[in-house]
């Protein structure tokens, strides 16, 4: 079966598959079902789909109640609302009791390029990462979305899933083993290492091809799970290189870059540069490429960061 390049479509498809396999899977929506693609679940399992209206706080605690009575609820809304509007409900209703609630933070990062600041989640990973018991995942493409969703039913505790709104290149190796917590080596190299997540993984792979032409060899690591971070893997993959770049479609405050440096804190390691949104809100743009370019989230910016670190 052809895999859609669109992560939301991949998510909706996988959610229906989970629902087919497991009768305890239920879904909740806050009137963004056409965007999050939770409507696919609604069509398949109307009795297990709860349209909660534009009321994210109630939706989140209701999911907690469903989980407390043996269901596995998937909350669906935009990442910015899932993590921000319902923060306290996630913290108290869901994370303290370690409930099996899955939170789909859809249209994450800058991927809702048209809607601007209020709808772009540049701090959701920092917020979600700070809550004890929360797992934070950020798939790089539709293949990874499918593999991730396949793991979710057996996984214990709350999981925040960051889903990009747009089509992204298919890059995750089909046959690669996947588990939550894995740092996947997408490409080996010995001069520099890029730790990336989400859309920035394919950008890093592009940068690697560009740098290869200049004789620079780039190791590309896909950090699909931001928390719990596989610290040993990060330390291992940071060894032997002269430069480390982290790349995320997210503020540089408290996200992937911070997590990587936290993991390396007791090690001698190469100098690190953070690529991400520089502690500011987003903006409206004509298309996804333009907004990524505005915030320096391109393959060229990754390549340039590697070059600058290597000449130091």
């Amino acid at each position: 079966m052809a895999v859609s390049n669109n992560l939301r479509t991949a998510y909706g498809t996988a959610l229906v598959e989970l629902g087919t396999k497991y009768p305890d899977v239920v879904a909740l929506e806050a009137d963004l079902g056409k965007s999050t693609q939770s409507v696919m679940f609604k069509a398949a399992f109307p009795e297990r789909y709860f349209e909660m209206g534009i009321a994210e706080q109630n939706m989140t605690s209701t999911a907690a109640g469903l989980a407390l009575s043996g269901k596995m609820p998937f909350i669906n809304t935009f990442a910015v609302f899932a993590s921000g509007r319902a923060y306290d409900q996630l913290r108290n209703s869901v994370c303290i009791p370690k409930l099996n609630v899955r939170i789909c933070g859809s249209s994450s990062g800058l991927s809702d390029y048209g809607d601007g600041k209020t709808h772009q989640s540049i701090e959701d990973m920092s917020i979600m990462r700070a809550i004890p018991n929360m797992t934070v995942v950020c798939p790089a493409d539709s293949i990874e979305v499918a593999k991730l969703m396949d793991c979710l039913h057996d996984y214990r505790g709350p999981v925040y899933i960051r889903i990009n709104r747009n089509d992204l290149p298919l890059i995750y190796p089909e046959r690669e083993e996947y588990h939550i917590g894995k740092v996947t080596k997408m490409r080996d190299g010995h001069d520099a290492a890029v730790f990336a997540c989400g859309v920035m993984v394919s950008k890093a792979l592009e940068a690697a091809r560009e740098l290869e032409r200049e004789g620079i060899s780039l190791r590309v690591l896909n950090v699909g799970t931001i928390k719990p971070l596989d610290r040993e893997a990060v330390i291992e993959y940071a060894k032997g290189v002269r430069a480390i770049v982290t790349a995320e479609e997210h503020t540089i405050v408290g996200g992937l870059g911070s997590a990587i440096v936290e993991a390396l804190r007791a090690e001698r390691h190469a100098p690190v540069e953070f690529l991400g949104v520089k502690d500011c809100f987003g903006t409206s743009a004509e298309n996804y490429d333009l907004i990524l370019e505005k915030y320096g989230l391109t393959s060229k910016a990754i390549a340039e960061s590697v070059r600058s670190l290597l000449v130091k």
């Binding site: 009795e47 209206g53 605690s61 209701t62 907690a64 109640g65 108290n92 209703s93 009791p97």
Partner: protein
């Protein structure tokens, strides 16, 4: 209609709960005496008469659930669970200690018999709604009871849940509003007055009953009416007295989370004993 014996038995248990609450707080330590005592009859009627609840099988999927949205009053739930033998009695003196199982607010990891994590106000009705939806999906006969505070009604999330439950025609959910008319820092009328509470719930699509929350017969009667109401949820507005049964704590915000002196502690226990003896 409950028998005279039942009413006497339950009224006495309510004072057992008050005694446990006072002992749990002890001398010289802060505790939520007022809002716990105001709930003694309601919690007693639920755990010791109305709810489908087996103390020997507290994880039974078909048990009725009790969710305390006003989590700061958890002492009254601890008090009941101690009387049921679900929580060991020796925990009574270890509330809010590092090695005890009774936390300052409900924590389902630490304490057997609790159903949800509450304390950040306004979330319990939503949690109860989720439980009710799950139980209905499973065709379980179990029902969910949730207690809110009247001060808590200013939380917006609570009204989100109040809108959502009738949308789903939920009738295995019963809410109580513990209308003791005093919140943390003063009378609700002065702090944040919410007029026409009954009319508000009615407008949101709920079956609304108003009772004296210290009258066991009235509490049981309302619960029976709620059980017979189909197609919509019921909320019982219970007029109560904050600090009920402990004269110095009645109708004052000072014992929302107050500290008892030795003398007050002894007075509280003596008053509770006298009230219980009068019921014999």
């Amino acid at each position: 209609m409950a028998s005279k014996e039942t009413v006497t038995r339950l009224s006495r248990i309510a004072y057992d709960l008050r005694e446990n609450i006072v002992r749990m707080i002890g001398v010289g330590k802060a505790g939520h005496l007022g809002g716990s005592s105001s709930l003694a009859e309601i919690v007693t009627a639920l755990y010791f008469e109305h709810m489908r609840y087996d103390r020997k099988n507290i994880r039974d999927p078909n048990r009725d659930r009790f969710v305390l949205s006003k989590g700061h009053a958890v002492l009254v739930q601890y008090a009941a669970l101690i009387e049921l033998g679900v929580i060991p009695r020796e925990e009574l003196t270890k509330v809010k200690t590092l090695n005890g199982m009774l936390q300052g607010h409900p924590d389902i990891d630490k304490t057997p018999g609790l159903e949800a994590v509450t304390g950040s106000l306004g979330q319990g009705l939503s949690i109860a709604l989720g439980m009710a939806l799950a139980l209905r999906l499973d065709k379980s006969p179990a029902r969910v009871f949730v207690v809110m505070g009247d001060g808590e009604l200013s939380e917006g999330q609570l009204w989100e849940a109040a809108m959502a439950a009738p949308k789903y025609g939920i009738d295995n959910l019963v809410g109580f509003v513990d209308r003791n008319r005093i919140q943390a820092t003063g009378p609700t009328k002065e702090i944040f007055d919410i007029p026409e509470i009954e009319e508000k719930w009615k407008a949101f699509g709920w079956n609304v009953l108003t009772i004296d929350g210290h009258d066991v017969v009235a509490v049981l009667g309302a619960l029976e009416k709620a059980a017979q109401t189909k197609g919509k949820p019921t909320v019982i507005i219970a007029n109560t007295v904050k600090g009920k049964g402990i004269s110095f704590a009645e109708n004052t915000a000072a014992f929302h989370n107050g500290i008892m002196s030795r003398e007050q502690y002894d007075t509280a226990l003596a008053e509770i004993e006298a009230a219980r003896a009068a019921l014999a």
